[in-house]
């Protein structure tokens, strides 16, 4: 069966991507599988300058999930382009760069750095930076800001498809998606993490030094499916489904509600060969269900 998918200017040999921040720069996983078998992978969020991230502790396990407040620690665009990208098998699999910045201008500059890079298949815009000028709420919560950031990236992205990654911490995710579309996004991805918190009753301390962090894992899958279903039902843009994927069934659930591809995140921590196995498992499940291609079931939810 042909698992390939093509949407929004991106062609993938199969619908399995890995989610930003859960797959390092890809290289960390080479002992556990062949990166070229994946549809692609999204690297850890990259900023203009290197960042050291938040103080420790930065992660906490929660029921069927986890919280993280890594704080976007990353090597910065320059080191990524010099030391990481050349070592990635980008001819055989899609390397997507996840962009992190705190202003539309900065986002534009960052996009400009990757626009001419042959090894980069697409740019994914992470709009979760708390916007200090606007009172600390994240970009991702304000449709006008999403549109502005998307437009800034799109302007400098050359012919790279621009994916805008949406936050579920909003009243109306369709409004956020529409804003991204208005800004020129080629593809939407959803969801980023839910804002959450964990506490240790014995030490009386928050389990994250940052107090709040992002919730991910199977616990959030129902929220992710709902968001992708809302987006795919309301907007003409292709959507990449993210949130709690831990099996081939989970991945096909996202396809059924309308996703063109999926990103596996937290599950990569439960076992480092997860994404590689997911490719095989989806093929097996699709065969069992008698699907000729993923197009045959995309959006095929019987409501």
């Amino acid at each position: 069966m042909d698992l390939s998918v093509s949407f929004g200017g991106l062609t993938l040999k199969n619908p399995v991507l890995t989610a930003s921040g859960t797959f390092g720069y890809g290289l960390e996983f080479t002992p556990y599988g062949d990166l070229a078998r994946l549809g692609g992978f999204v690297v850890k969020g990259i900023s203009l300058l290197p960042r050291e991230g938040n103080p420790m502790p930065r992660i906490a396990e929660t029921p069927c999930g986890m919280l993280n407040a890594i704080g976007l620690q990353n090597v910065g665009a320059e080191v990524f382009l010099r030391d990481k990208l050349p070592r990635l098998p980008w001819r055989e699999t899609a390397v997507v760069v996840n962009l992190y910045a705190c202003s539309a201008e900065e986002f534009g500059d960052l996009a400009g750095l990757f626009a001419g890079e042959e090894g980069v298949a697409a740019l994914e815009v992470n709009v979760s930076c708390p916007n200090v000028r606007e009172g600390g709420a994240a970009f991702g919560a304000d449709p006008a800001q999403i549109a502005a950031v998307t437009a800034a990236v799109k302007r400098r992205a050359g012919d790279k498809p621009v994916i805008v990654k949406l936050s579920p911490n909003v009243t109306d995710i369709v409004a956020a998606g529409r804003a991204a579309m208005d800004g020129g996004a080629d593809i939407l991805s959803a969801i980023n993490t839910l804002t959450g918190m964990a506490v240790d009753v014995r030490t009386r301390r928050p389990r994250l030094a940052n107090v709040v962090g992002g919730l991910s894992g199977p616990a959030v899958k129902p929220v992710g499916l709902r968001c992708v279903w809302q987006l795919a039902s309301a907007l003409p843009l292709p959507v990449i489904g993210i949130g709690g994927i831990a099996s081939a069934e989970d991945a096909l659930e996202y396809v059924l509600v309308g996703a063109h591809a999926v990103q596996a995140g937290t599950a990569n921590f439960s076992r480092p060969d997860f994404a590689f196995r997911l490719v095989d498992d989806i093929a097996a499940l699709a065969a069992e269900l008698g699907l000729d291609s993923l197009d045959a079931c995309r959006g095929g939810l019987r409501t």
Partner: protein
């Protein structure tokens, strides 16, 4: 060997170099799960993971990530454990029940399946001719089992074990040669008041391995213990490696959840750049 190892781990590696490290992830069955000291710790034996020729491709101080299949989706992460030994009995780990995950691992029975990847991270340096002091805080004893067994000149080793639980909870057989030679010291810390005496004991032994002796101190145990050891070693001018026990999600450098602060003030993954660090490479507050 030590320096070479650090070079491989720290340098930019090609894919084939990485593959040569024989890291694997695999399903294994529990062979035996023996309670020690009435269940205060467990000696967990697993099928041999088959890490290449004679099992010699792992190095003491390295660890594995272990996740029982029975955890389903509830507990998201595997848990890190030092490799204690790999022998005819299989892969040996020493487990101290200390929370939701380790409590459930204590309940595993022969035949139960776990998912495991490793060997991971850096290892303790071996300098055959150097007087070497092994300092274990509680279950921090585990990596020294394999270390002592492999050391080419065990006469140069001395081990101090500080423990709060019953000594019967520790696998001491592997250290019989050291004990026989009077080079195994145990200290039972029952109350907070005992702490000073324990620190004094550490100080004495570290002094013997300080600048004058050009000795080596290797330590594994809880954070406060390691910070004390580091302070004493700095004072005595002893070269020192510590094995950090930071919380881990992936164990392979991808999540950035386990970082320690290095001497340059940078956050480095304790799972790949550690868990074993030279204290001189770590920030004061690591």
């Amino acid at each position: 060997m030590g320096a070479g190892v650090r070079l491989i781990v720290r340098g930019a590696k090609t894919l084939s170099e990485r593959t040569m490290e024989h890291k694997t992830c695999t399903s294994l069955r529990i062979v035996e799960n023996r309670p020690l000291g009435g269940g205060a710790q467990y000696l967990l034996s697993l099928e041999n993971p088959g890490w290449g020729a004679g099992g010699k491709t792992w190095r003491p101080g390295q660890f594995v990530m272990l996740r029982p299949v029975s955890w389903g989706l509830e507990l998201t992460w595997a848990r890190p454990f030092s490799i204690a030994q790999v022998d005819e009995g299989g892969l040996r780990l020493v487990i101290r029940p200390a929370g939701r995950g380790t409590d459930r691992i204590a309940g595993l029975a022969p035949g139960d399946e776990v998912f495991l990847w490793g060997p991971l991270g850096t290892s303790f340096v071996t300098e055959p001719e150097t007087p070497t002091l092994l300092l274990a805080g509680g279950v921090g004893l585990a990596p020294f089992w394999g270390y002592a067994a492999r050391h080419p000149a065990p006469a140069n080793l001395r081990l101090v074990l500080g423990h709060t639980i019953d000594l019967a909870a520790f696998p001491l057989d592997p250290f019989a040669p050291l004990a026989g030679a009077g080079r195994l010291h145990t200290f039972h810390q029952r109350t907070m008041a005992d702490l000073d005496a324990f620190i004094a004991l550490l100080e004495r032994h570290i002094a013997d391995h300080g600048r004058a002796a050009n000795g080596l101190v290797l330590a594994c145990g809880p954070g406060p213990f390691l910070r004390t050891v580091r302070r004493l070693c700095d004072a005595a001018g002893a070269r020192c490696q510590v094995s950090l026990e930071n919380r881990m999600a992936c164990g392979i450098g991808a999540c950035l959840g386990c970082v320690a602060r290095d001497a340059a003030g940078r956050n480095v993954q304790s799972c790949t750049r550690g868990p074993v660090f030279w204290t001189r490479d770590l920030a004061e507050e690591f």
